[in-house]
Amino acid sequence: MIGLFPTVVAVIVFNVVLAMLVVALRLRSDRRERSFRQVEARWDPLLVRVIGGEDVSAPTIRPDEARHVLVVAGAYARCLRGSDLDRLQAFVEPYARTLLPELRSRSAEKRATAAELLGVLALHKCSRYIVETLDDPSPRVSLVAARALSRPEYPEHTAAVLDRVHRYSHWSPSLISSMLALVGSGAMEDLRSYLADPDRPSRGRAVVAGTLRLLRDARSAPIAAAALDSDNPDLVVSSLRLISAVGSSQQAESVRPMLEHDVFFVRAEAASVLSKIGDPWDVDAVANLLHGDSPWAALRSAKALMALGERQMLEDLSRGHGLASESAREALQVELV
């Protein structure tokens, strides 16, 4: 019994220390929150007046509140563009450099926040630091920097972002494609070169093909046709979708062999593409997929046949049994809906 006493005391002391720690952390968090609210209450109306074009004789932002003011300004900057944004940026720009040390913080979250805020508030002054942040050890921070740089006003940073696209493999390819598409037409040359380069990572090329599809770049159709030689099915599918969006019958010759690809979703996509850019004599090859082993490829084939005007063939098929008949019925049903 006596032997247990020190253990009980130790547990009690540990719990008391833990409770004190929790209270201290809570107090610190409350103090920070209160401080932020005070800065927000003081600066929020003033920033709105600055955005509105008022000639504001603002008090100088104190160094200890600069970060909070930049956070408040960042919330507005994300919603703005044009001259309203220019006014806000001009107002807070002298203080943006106070965020630079945070780009070297030990906390990845702080580094990401700093990169994002610098991106929306002072990109033209701090782009060098944000480009450096692309090589941050954390892929998330790097992605935040890439997002900050992916702006139509700064297409010159596209190449730097593309060089790091392979780092963003944890994120959805469509997310990265959309991000790159934000740059717009200024990025076309870099994007085409990337897709055309077989030495680039296949995943990155698939992402770029998605971007070119979003940008509807007709000049990339032959590049996508060449990329169909890749061993990577994701790149092949992404290239097929690009051809489907911007291609023509000139790419049909490259697409046809994909109907016999080993991977079922490549075959399915190829059927779909040929229904748009193919010729009437592609019907037989597309119809062959109805009798394959993949229900998905069969369904896409049936829909492709419908698009090619083969309704009668599908109606005849739909009266039977098996995968081909089911796919035909499904395609006819979709058409009815």
Binding site: E40, A41, P45, I51, G53, R78, C79, R81, G82
Partner: protein, 238 residues
């Protein structure tokens, strides 16, 4: 019709509650409450100007100015004024008393008979966007009312048809496209110009907006100055 009124009043009750909470903080010397009060009062001003609250924006501006000048607490006169606004809004939200009861809160500085300003109803659940739109349009002479969900905005529009509606697509309870369809199907509101202000910028979304009867489609991020110019084109401010 009574459902619409009830929906409007529920939003009014919510704002009244927010105002009372902010006032309670102010009584304790809470500096932060100034901005909260200004925001709530501005919202009240916008949404209930037809209910007899002229002059509230003057009060809101006074609160904002006090905040700018770093005055830790508003004058007693201002506090009394805000309390009477709160009481009057609560009286309206009870449903029984109506417009006459709130005449007491009219600011003596503001004439009861003003030249009619163009009313704009703005629907967006993003406070930052709401602030930017309210600031720009009020500077340009429009009377703005703000709602953060589609249902209460529709209720307000049916009760007090605005001269123009600005709406976001992703809003709670009833999305912007649905709200737009309701506006266009109402004989009272079918001709009211509508501007969609949304981050949904795909071709499909924009075409859908115009198909449903939008007069303009502005993408976020946006320029409040440009938005105001588009509003001016559709309904010139008086």
């Amino acid at each position: 019709m009574s459902d619409m009124r009830e929906s409007f009043l529920s939003s009014l009750r919510f704002r009244t509650k927010a105002l009372e909470m902010a006032l309670a903080t102010l009584d304790k010397g809470g500096e932060d409450a100034l901005v909260s009060i200004a925001r709530v009062v501005q919202q009240l001003d916008g949404s209930s100007v037809e209910y007899g609250f002229p002059g509230i924006s003057t009060c809101a501006r006074a609160v904002l100015d006090a905040s700018d000048e770093d005055i830790p607490i508003a004058t007693q006169e201002l506090v009394d004024y805000l309390k009477s606004v709160s009481r009057a809004a609560a009286a309206v939200s009870e449903g029984g008393t109506g417009v006459e009861d709130v005449a007491i809160v009219e600011s003596p500085d503001v004439p009861a008979e003003e030249s009619r300003t163009v009313s704009v109803l703005h629907v967006d659940n993003d406070d930052v966007v709401a602030t930017l739109v309210a600031d720009r349009l009020s500077r340009d002479g429009f009377a703005l009312s703000h709602f953060s969900d589609g249902e209460s905005a529709l209720a307000e529009a049916l009760l007090n048809p605005p001269d123009l509606v600005i709406l976001d697509v992703k809003i709670p309870k009833m999305d912007g496209f649905e709200l737009l369809a309701h506006l266009r199907s109402s004989p009272k509101l079918a001709e009211v110009p509508v501007i969609v202000l949304s981050s949904m910028g795909s071709e499909r979304d924009v075409v859908r907006g115009f198909d449903l009867g939008a007069n303009d489609y502005v993408l976020k991020p946006f320029s409040p100055s440009e938005l105001s110019a588009r509003v001016q084109r559709l309904v010139p401010a008086s």
